[in-house]
Subunit: 273 residues, 2 copies
């Protein structure tokens, strides 16, 4: 169905080129064939990529879109001189005006992810991923005060993927705790959480959607039953209201939207960057 | 230390604006203060953001850099007409040439992550995250054939964060299996993996770095001891060589680089997108 080929080319991982291109492509109602060409760190590899792109242009009779974040000038010039695709060059477009504004020369450093492994920010991120994994689903009460945020909500309300996303994208130490029937009977938050109320953020979800999700896991169970989901959600929301916990509904939100919203609400001081 | 303030503004999550801006900023040896202003989905919110940016400009005596991916034209025009920052407008720069090339009008749809929760690709990604979590550290042999890739390596060689990144970024079902002393004694891969050899990818690491990482977890343990790390790494590499398993060293690589490299090697058919 695709009527156009799109290339993402980079001398690094190509992750930025892909984000850049996909965000722009999302502005168009069209389907495309995507090809990722990362690590083009030599003139030889550039020529090989250009041959591939020009071949596509010839076969399809339409020039491919080429999203690039190449910073090596020798590699880039192979594309600008020989590539028959439409070049959409993020760095070429914005680096020069930024040089003028900042009064600095750009360093043409390849790959903002390379050498990352030696940086403190990177190691903090890996640490945060490990922390969030160890504190998934109320697994551990240890070092709960080390959390930047503690997500609570009924089972399958989106806590785990959100925690991992917060850790991976923002280096946030995100714990998560399920709210379970015993908590509802006691009408209180899990005792381990009481001292950390300021860090708690609640996730809720429409009972109908929850029942759907749970049915995929355990079809026809009491766990997935709509009435039971209604009861759990209503108890959980009641508890969050009583305890004065901020919360949002995940029903129609992506983990990116949930995580960004939480980040705006929590604003962990550690991350004032 | 920071001599310039940088704003990331968006009518959606701002994740693209941040990726865009941070990639460009990585080209300069300068420290900046970063401010994220997501969800600017009304003219009122835009005016409020403009006041904040203009205040920064006045206080600092230097105009802030403003990376934007705003697509709502009413919101954007508040910035273009009133903002005293330097506007770096990704969509404004590239959407028009793309419209001409594709012969299509852009849809000005806000937020490529919104409505995501209803899309198959999104649900597959969440499914992949759950799969990778359930198959972390050899936890489950169930549905191992459902994996797109199975990472193997000694404990703390980078398998878990890489698996989660592959799931979260690419929707890849990534399992991971530790190689442990019993495997070395038997001189064979864990038996559960034998039928899936084509999907296996190995991670290795320099013993010195491994010992460092393990020492943070369990100081002065046999587990972290350098001689022991040397032995484990040598055994693991020997096994991967004998079994004809592709592998790479994670010592100086970020999870982004590791994941992208694996993706190029494995090229799961499911993901030929």
């Amino acid at each position: 169905m695709s009527n156009r080929t799109v290339y993402f080319i980079s001398d690094g991982t190509g992750i930025t080129a892909e984000t850049f291109g996909n965000a722009l492509l999302a502005q168009f109602e069209t389907s495309v064939r995507r090809v990722r060409l990362p690590f083009l760190d030599s003139v030889d590899k550039a020529h090989q990529a250009v041959r591939q792109i020009n071949h596509t242009a010839a076969v399809e009779g339409k020039r491919p879109l080429v999203f690039t974040t190449v910073v090596n000038m020798d590699v880039l010039s192979v594309f600008t001189n020989h590539c028959q695709g439409m070049m959409l060059d993020m760095f070429g477009t914005f680096v020069e005006p930024m040089e003028q504004e900042l009064g600095l020369k750009s360093n043409h450093r390849v790959g903002r992810f390379s050498d990352a492994s030696k940086s403190k920010a990177y190691n903090d991120r890996i640490e945060a991923i490990n922390f969030s994994l160890a504190h998934d689903d109320g697994q551990s009460h240890r070092d709960l005060e080390g959390s930047d945020v503690i997500l609570v909500g009924v089972s399958r309300s989106g806590k785990t993927p959100t925690s991992l996303y917060l850790a991976m994208q923002y280096g946030l130490k995100a714990s998560n705790y399920p709210l379970i029937p015993e908590d509802f009977e006691r009408r209180k938050l899990p005792p381990a959480l009481a001292p950390h109320k300021k860090k708690i953020f609640g996730l809720t979800i429409a009972p109908e959607r929850l029942s759907e999700i749970r049915n995929e896991r355990r079809p026809n169970s009491r766990y997935a039953n709509l009435d039971n989901c209604r009861m759990e959600v209503s108890e959980a929301e009641g508890m969050m209201r009583r305890e004065g916990i901020r919360w949002l509904s995940t029903t129609t939100k992506s983990i990116e939207e949930i995580a960004t919203t939480i980040l705006q609400e929590i604003r962990p001081e550690r991350l004032e960057y």
